[in-house]
Amino acid sequence: MSYNSGFTQRFSTSWKIFIKNPLGKAGLALLMLFAFMALASFALPFIGDMYDPMTGVDPLVLHSVGPSAVHWLGTDFIGRDIFCQLLEGSKIAFIVGLASAFISIVIGTVVGMVSGYAGGIVDMLLMRLADMVMVLPSLVILLIIAALFGQLNIWMIVFLIAILRWPAVARVIRSQTLSLKQRPFIEASRVAGASNVRIIFKHIMPNVLPLAFLYMTFRVTSAILVEASLSFLGFGDPGQISWGMMLQWVWSSGHMFQAPYWLLPPGICISLLTLSFYMVGRAMDEVLDPRLRKEGKPS
């Protein structure tokens, strides 16, 4: 009970700091807009076959035309509605970003905690591995895997991005663990006979989770960008419409100089969504790290 009320209080204090930050406010507002778009995409099948983002074709158009009352943002090269594709792309961006960030956070947190807690040779080996993975260009790796294994499906892409993007998280969690390890409560639980596994997951993990959660917002950003780049180059999941794929269609169908109504929306959406996750991350950073707050406020 007391733990719960403490948590609620801590949360409300953090929330107040977060929402006072203009970056946090703007980022959250944008995120909600995109989340609404993603939710709206579930309604598309009920509106009519013509508005299916992948298979729906307007029989009266069949080529790319500009915005009208029937097609708010116009149609693509075979007459599919661009606005519907944009909604569907929003859903895919959220799925890719959140799923991939979540997996990389799990890997990074576990590696970071084990590395920091164990120390010695385990620490050295894990951190060397992290250094190695860190310098690998993810898009280039995904390209070579796509070359060898053919078209990748969306979950494969999510997973690959995640296993290439955990080292930064592991580094941060490791240094946090190193400082936690020195605290009396860890020593106390060790004396009380807690196993290493129990100490790591029961005592260290709750203390590093806020930091892991913060880093998740930055991982979301990079996962969305990598997936969009891959789709843009034509190696995305062919069964899923994504914003990157929409841009690829503009480019490969030769409409990029003729159809600004088609070129602008997907790019603006990708850039704004990643920006909003980034802004939320920066604002959370200030909540978690009092040194970053403006002077004059109690920290």
Partner: protein
């Protein structure tokens, strides 16, 4: 530890990493569905030529022998034959390397220098309007979607305004006409400006943000207070005392963000049809030219690793506090 031992350790580390990449790639090529022979030997070759190539790469031998031959071939510069060009892969990619290095190093250097300069100003005038504008623009630059931004640059500055050519690295008519060296250089520069500007804008934001936060923490140090107490001018404190130390993390980040820059570089090359390694890799992957894709990949890995080594050394050289 002395300087040469540090150099040796770093080189050894990167060499091991490269070896690991080489090995993983070897197994990936054998694990992938289908016959590894069709991956390394052009299906268009005559049976005799194909047999010769199989023999040369040891594709008919057991896996361990294959691996030995693979490593030996790599270190003797034998990367197989490109299906598309019908030339040795090594020759194709080495001819693309200068274009990539030219674009890549110029844009990274310019972006880092500008980022350091603007970040310094931004931190110095913290809370001002200038700081606000710079920080927000840097955030936007940092999260831009590279291919889209490159397409926008191409559309606006190349197509609508018409200041820049729409792609490539040279105008063939100038080169056929046997123009002077000066005109040829200017022609390459003219083609390079748009991709350069694109990469510059994409990278300058993150350097600015990093320099800003690093500068802000340096400005809180005691020695800055000492410098003020000594009565030094703002300019001397800002440029001499604070900025010098604050720029160290930016140097490290050049190395760490290389992976990110390589991704952006490949996409930029692709859109501006700049004949570099990144574009060649994308071409090879699209056309199932496996030997070429493998070669491009290994070259990119080698470039990334050597750049990291250079950054590490540069850092050690810049920061006298480092004990190797």
């Amino acid at each position: 530890m002395n300087r040469s031992l540090f150099l040796f350790k770093k080189t050894l580390e990167l060499f091991i990493l490269f070896f690991l990449i080489l090995t993983v790639l070897f197994f990936l090529f054998r694990l992938a569905p289908g016959d590894p022979v069709t991956r390394m030997v052009d299906p268009m070759l005559t049976p005799e030529d194909a047999a010769h190539l199989i023999e040369q790469m040891g594709l008919d031998k057991p896996l361990t022998t294959q691996y030995m031959i693979y490593v030996k071939n790599f270190f003797t510069g034998n990367l197989g034959f490109s299906f598309h060009y019908g030339e040795p892969v090594a020759r194709v990619i080495l001819s693309r390397l200068p274009c990539t290095l030219l674009l890549f190093t110029t844009s990274t250097l310019l972006a880092a220098l500008a980022g350091i300069f603007l970040g310094k100003l931004s931190a110095w005038h913290k809370g001002s309007r200038l700081d606000g504008v710079l920080s927000i623009s840097a955030l936007v630059c940092h999260t831009l979607f590279v291919p889209w931004f490159a397409l926008m640059m191409l559309w606006v500055l190349g197509f609508q305004v018409g200041w820049f050519p729409l792609g490539g690295i040279i105008s063939p008519e100038l080169w056929i006409a046997d123009s002077s060296f000066m005109i040829k250089t200017l022609d390459v520069l003219h083609h390079m400006l748009l991709p350069l500007l694109t990469l510059f804008i994409i990278h300058v934001g993150s350097y600015l943000l990093l320099m800003r936060s690093s500068m802000l923490s340096v400005l809180k140090e005691d020695y800055i207070l000492t410098a003020r107490a000594k009565g030094l001018t703002d300019r001397v404190i800002r440029n001499g005392h604070a900025a010098k130390n604050a720029s160290l993390p930016v140097v490290t980040s050049v190395g760490l963000s290389l992976a990110f820059s390589i991704n952006g570089g490949a996409l930029t090359e692709q859109i501006f049809t700049w004949p570099g390694i990144g574009r060649e890799l994308i071409f090879a992957v699209s056309n199932n030219d496996y030997p070429l894709a493998q070669g491009c990949f290994l070259l990119i890995a080698a470039v990334v690793l050597s750049a990291n080594l250079i950054v590490d050394l540069l850092y050690a050289w810049l920061d006298p506090r480092i004990h190797y």
